[in-house]
Symmetry: C2
Subunit: 308 residues, 2 copies
């Protein structure tokens, strides 16, 4: 029997991660490139094709042993048409028929989707949200993204644009947000804001990882700092919990490593601010699959689409 | 062929509405009682049974011609077990096996559900949201309630408690809310608050209906008043639209009669505050079925459950 593999790709604003998965979606090999060297769309697509081909070569595979290629992208994607509408952080990507282009270049079936949707898919299939039906996955980083599982399936909304928890307003008025609105959750708990707050408190050279370590060592200022981040996050989540009566929330991304103090503050805020029944129902978990979630989600995407 | 009918009941904090529907869910007869005369749970259940029996008698029907009884209730209901968990505005209702009690008393199949869920169900089946897949229905009154259609089905959440748009926080801090939190949408656009604001502006005797009429006649103060209500409502809806990428929002309840100025303000706010793709996608409608939505939804509930 010929062994079957999936090539999974996670395209971020900074890195292009590439992995070879076996048919059980275990990672067999990995590679990563900076996307900066590919300074336009054509070069970046070329880079994706090269990394697919070099994987096949280096692992001594044939194209016949590859089930398909799954790709996560940081932006608005029509997963069924295989079209990238736009990528806010990668210039030049507007209305790109990526599936068609890559299928022509590689001769393999290609499936694409939004990266946070794939992370959500992975956490629901194989991570922290495995046994839950109605789930919000949230990623805390430069941006604050989210994905939803509703009735045991990935919920996309009409344009595959659902899940934007980062753009829930936390106040009627407040700091301007990149999305064009103001006072969105992202402007309060996105990395740009919290690193600024941290540097005011701890000096201009501290990193968020260091503030996390301080909190894990019970440093009072760091504990208070993450407690405040947790309150803002918990308040936005209270609204979502009231609206969706979720059974689980999964928190991932760099900031989720702040640890217990952040999660405790989120939980306490939900208990204080959300309605009784909904607050008691929801479980709050740290994401389990970490940096591999996008890759594993891309693998599930390929498996799911090929089943149809 | 024996004609088949459904008895539909909408139990509110003020009135018990009862209707006879034919099998196409057209209303053939209606009655309404004040719930105040039934000052305890036992009497109210007796009142429900009496109104069912008197309907059957007055309309010259036999029990064999009744397909079933559908009931909407203003609170937390386990629709599948037929259990009322609690009704916040009707004292004494805690963990009542209403389905079982009424089936024993009437000998007919009984189905119960939350009233806003039934209104949502009705607007999706036969009202403004008929052709839409992902919908929020919102009712503006003393309370601000909501229901969700997700992927063409009524979305209940884990405890049938989903849809509580009235308890989305609009600010981190603000006026105390009946739910135990603060700064919820309901404290800004619920009737209690807006009648107070209206009386400050227009004098102590004005009603909200009168402020609506003034706005319809282009009175500048009234136009501004409903514009402000629309801004607050629109902001909360912007968050939901970003999160759920809905294709329609249906607004019902007394305040929805304020007319164009309210809807215009809601739409403008969503276009300003929600993300581009989601804001352009969503349609905003006035509820079509008005006061009958709960009754018609109760009819659909009976039909749907009997099909299983």
């Amino acid at each position: 029997m010929v062994k079957k593999f999936i090539i999974a790709i996670d395209l971020g604003g900074t890195n292009l991660k590439c992995a070879l998965l076996n048919s059980s979606l275990k990672i067999k090999a990995k590679s990563s490139f900076s996307t900066k060297s590919f300074d336009n769309k054509r070069k970046l697509i070329g880079g994706i094709v090269d990394s697919i081909n070099s994987f096949i070569l280096r692992q001594n595979l044939t194209k016949r042993s590859i089930l398909g290629i799954g790709i996560g992208l940081p932006g608005l994607v029509d997963t069924f048409k295989g079209m990238v509408h736009f990528l806010p952080n990668i210039p030049g990507w507007k209305e790109v028929s990526l599936k068609k282009i890559l299928e022509q270049e590689t001769g393999l079936p290609v499936f694409i989707d939004n990266d946070v949707k794939l992370m959500t898919f992975a956490e629901h299939k194989a991570g922290s949200a495995k046994e839950y039906n109605n789930v919000l996955c949230i990623t805390l980083g430069t941006g604050v993204g989210g994905g939803l599982i509703i009735g045991n399936s990935l919920y996309r909304g009409k344009d595959n644009a659902a899940g934007e928890i980062g753009h829930l307003p936390l106040n009627e008025h407040g700091p301007v947000c990149g999305c064009g609105s103001e006072a969105c959750l992202e402007v309060y708990v996105g990395n740009a804001r919290i690193i600024k707050d941290a540097r005011k408190l701890f000096g201009s050279k501290i990193t968020l990882e260091e503030v996390s370590k301080l909190a894990q060592g019970n440093n009072a200022k760091a504990t208070k700092f993450w407690g405040e981040v947790g309150k803002k996050l918990g308040l936005a989540l209270s609204g979502v919990v009231n609206l969706l009566n979720l059974d689980a929330i999964v928190i991932g991304g760099g900031v989720s490593c702040a640890g217990k103090v952040l999660f405790k503050s989120v939980k306490q805020t939900i208990l204080m601010r959300a309605m009784n029944v909904q607050a008691k129902r929801v479980n709050i978990f740290k994401a389990k699959l970490g940096n591999d979630a996008g890759i594993i989600g891309a693998g599930y995407l390929v498996k799911e689409r090929l089943k149809r």
